[in-house]
């Protein structure tokens, strides 16, 4: 019987230390980059918020004026890409992460504000706009995923179609208010188009058939696409807010 060389315990410990350092480094880097993304999202939200407020203010200022001075153009295409980014973050960082949840809540509020403002402009100026409010949930809802794809497709096809998506289960009073105003059932997905509720999955063709007026807001033959991809790995919300046509009001010519 021979003897083995004794185990080099010191090396076992040194390697443990190095491995732990690498591991902690990996975790730190992941957190650092995730926080950077959260910051980026916060920035976008704050920009959109300023844009919205500015639009609201302009609209209020110009309320007495004629609609011909109110031109509709793209406000914040960021609101769109923001939806994708929040969806991605829910998967990447976690949909129970407090930062992500609060960003999502804030995003929902911005959507509602944008919706109300746009509706006011449309009503007052008789523009052709179609609004879709889309209610979904993240858990156990394959149809919601599919509905997300459909709405993304419609949004690409009809840049003036405005889709606002809301997480049915998000704990925020304004979404609950919308749910009760439009009597949105819990059989999701559900969409509200021009005030009418449709529950269950609807295909692109279903929606186009139900709303022939979509044709009137169809994209030009070669639309300029400003939006980012919604085809991230995320399958949860996938969705939607659309190229908001918003008012950027021309300087008013006051006649003396």
């Amino acid at each position: 019987m021979y003897q083995h060389e004794p185990n080099d315990w010191k090396k076992y410990v040194i390697v443990l230390f190095i491995t732990s350092t690498i591991f902690i480094g990996g975790i730190w880097l992941s957190n650092y980059l995730s926080n950077k993304k959260i910051d980026q999202l916060k920035n976008i939200e704050s920009n959109i918020s300023v844009d919205l407020m500015s639009s609201e203010t302009q609209f209020s200022l110009l309320e007495e004026l004629s609609c011909k001075d109110v031109s509709t153009t793209v406000l914040s295409s960021e609101l769109n890409s923001l939806a994708d980014k929040i969806t991605f973050s829910e998967n990447n960082i976690g949909n129970d992460d407090t930062n992500v949840v609060s960003l999502k809540k804030y995003y929902s509020l911005l959507e509602i504000k944008d919706y109300l403002l746009m509706k006011k402009i449309t009503d007052r100026c008789g523009q052709k706009s179609i609004f879709i409010l889309y209610f979904y949930k993240n858990d156990k809802c394959d149809d919601c995923t599919k509905q997300g794809y459909v709405l993304t497709t419609l949004r690409e096809k009809y840049p003036n179609l405005r889709v606002y998506s809301f997480d049915y289960n998000l704990d925020i009073s304004s979404i609950k208010a919308m749910v009760s105003i439009y009597k949105v059932p819990d059989n999701l997905p559900a969409i509200v188009i021009n005030g009418k509720v449709y529950s269950g999955f609807k295909t692109v063709e279903d929606i186009e058939k139900t709303f022939p007026e979509l044709e009137s807001i169809k994209a030009p033959v070669t639309p300029v696409k400003t939006k980012t991809s919604t085809t991230t790995k995320s399958t949860k919300i996938t969705t939607p807010v659309v190229e908001p046509t918003t008012t950027v009001v021309e300087p008013v010519k006051t006649s003396n």
Partner: protein
Amino acid sequence: MDSLYTSIFYVFSFISVYVQIFFLVTFLEKKRHIIKHPDNFELLSYPTVTIAVPCYNEKDTITKTVESLLALDYPKDKMTIFLIDDGSKDNTWELIQKLDNGTNVRAFHKENGGKHTALNLALEKNTSEFFGCLDADSFVHPQALKRILSYFEKDPKTMAVAPSIVVYNPKNILQSAQKVEYDMAIYTKKMLGFMGGIHVTPGPFSIFRRKVFDDLGNYHKAHNTEDQEIALRMQEHGYKIDHCPDAYVYTNTPNSVVKLYRQRLRWIYGFIKNLIDYRRLLFRKKHGAVAMFTLPSGIISILGVIFLSTTIVINIFKFVKTKIIQIHTIGFSNFFNLNYKFEWFFVSTKVALFLSIILYILVIVSVLIGRKMSEGKVTFSISILYFIIIYSVIAPFWMIRAIYNAIFSKESSWTFERRVMKN
């Protein structure tokens, strides 16, 4: 469920990184001790050596194997070659009889009984100080024997020395991927050699002192992996096993997935069964690195590969499923009209991703060091990618099957595998 999964992932990746770092630290610590022999070096003395070549249906390769042995740079009167026909069904026996020259090449025939019985017959006839084996699908570098024997000369405590196995003439992607694996193994084997943790003395050209068999007995069947069992038996008794990185043995590797699968099934099955037989070694300090490092990391690597590879495959499957649902939902034309634009934001920052990247970098570093040791230069080639992809996809199959077979004791036979290999 999700957090359980994440915890398992962390545990596996931590241990995998630990093992790789351990090798790397050993390499940095010992790299000066990696010997590269000059072509003209001489041994102080030339002891007698017997090389046994067990044959089962080897008519196509046996001549080349014997020629390579005869071409070894070693005094002819000090080396004997035993060709043992293990009841071949082809004309191997006629062939090796012709090779028998009555002096240093001898041919023997026996009823088919498995590789270990052929080796044991050779051991019974052996009178040399050193004994080795060479599989009939392999052939040796002319300097291999001298280089290996220099390790015995340097350290009288060294009882066996394993060679570096190099893939001979890889012809397809699968063989190129195996070449990468074998290159990496040269590095890891040497590091295990430094640590005293080698757990296989491979069939192709591992050389032993005769004392090993005199003291510990002949080869066992050992679930058709007698080369693992003899190494574990030696480790149990504290017999030192080293590795000679520049003793090259060229081996033919399986050229199809099915053949590779059969070979690996036998290896992993053998590993598991031998591990069970030698479980008494596990975590016993007195048995050195093989007990504390090699065997535990072997277990982890089987489970880890199954877990990590299955995860990758499931994720790819999920991704494809998502895309299919998407196309099914919105139609082909709409799908291809969607705007795709790259943005850094959408690059994952999950911890798992960083850990996987670290792990893959460490694996690639191992391959590169192995190449440096086998070819003398660091070369980065596309075959590294083949290796990672192919093994990620197919390794779990033979590992899972090996575990299944081990539980239900379904052996994969050597002769059956040899038959398959030739077809």
